[in-house]
Symmetry: C3
Subunit: 139 residues, 3 copies
């Protein structure tokens, strides 16, 4: 078994789901692994990862709307407000979704289902660039 | 280190938690690995995975009831309704739980705690069959 | 590639987020791996894992407050109450967060972002000790 580790920088334009499947698929190609696994890890706590439906954009809008109601910006319950009304909701959304996702590598490609895409879920309204580590291992 | 990858097909009868621990334990036996890790990945976005209490069925019923209230079918907020009132709630439930779970392999067996079971969490009321990838690696 | 597996016992004093980054970092040092991955798995369903902001304690308090409102103790909807009013909320919180977390190992250390810490998220008010498995693999 061998492994391959690289860092990706993603610059989301704003809050919401940003597809990163092609970027991660390229990293898997560079790894030169036929059968194995791919881990994607995001080095932040105000943006996260989620695997979601990749066909109809309305599904992503509905998902964002759910989080906007469940963890609203400017919630008066929050103490942690120094970085703005969208800071604490970002941490809550991150805790409810994933800091890392694993996807099997099958025949040299990401073994996602037909309707699955991997998304960076940006929670800040004015985000900076985001660092992700992609680690691929197998044979 | 060596690895073993296989696909499991599970056919849940309806919405809810369906235990798959024995199916995954068999895959670990077939892998012939004593110490390592087991990843289970579900290739869908309207069913997910969760590790939950395996003793009292009332815990699973309460968990389902929580999700029914948190992401109700037919929510008028949803745009994405073409596949029925339980479609978008399925995606939300999937985002809140897990597309993959990892379990250590200890002494050739799944290293789950005494009260832990691995469940396919089916979110659709009339599901089709579900494909999972089990990947085991170690020594 | 080589691997290292060990068990950690953590004794949280009560409900809430308990940082375990230093404990896991020590296990990574013991593994003697320069580039690879670290999995942490918790063998319980009433405590879980979460990667959160490690700087301002108010972020952790706000996160706990969110869960106290989303899955309140003593919810009259719950059937599963034999072990007390905080038992079923513990299972719900565990389902919404993570049973395992993976962190890349970079230059022999946990590749966390600057503001990330790994926490045991204890959900019971009077917890016993908790068992975690740390598995590190790579080169």
């Amino acid at each position: 078994m061998k492994q391959h580790q690289e860092t990706l920088t993603v610059s989301p334009e704003g809050r919401g789901l940003h597809e990163i499947t092609p970027r991660v698929a390229e990293a898997v190609r560079r790894a030169g692994i036929t059968t194995g696994l791919c881990l994607v890890f995001i080095r932040h706590t105000s943006a996260s990862l989620v695997i979601q439906e990749n066909a109809d954009p309305s599904a992503r809008r509905d998902l964002e709307r759910w989080f906007e109601k469940a963890a609203p910006d400017g919630d008066p319950d929050h103490e942690h407000t120094a970085e703005g009304p969208d800071d604490m909701p970002s941490h809550i959304r991150s805790a409810l979704t994933s800091t890392s996702e694993q996807i099997p590598v099958v025949d040299g490609k990401l073994g996602l289902g037909t309707w699955q895409g991997l998304y960076l879920f940006e929670h800040r309204r004015r985000p900076g660039s985001r660092k992700l580590i992609v680690h691929v291992w197998g044979e």
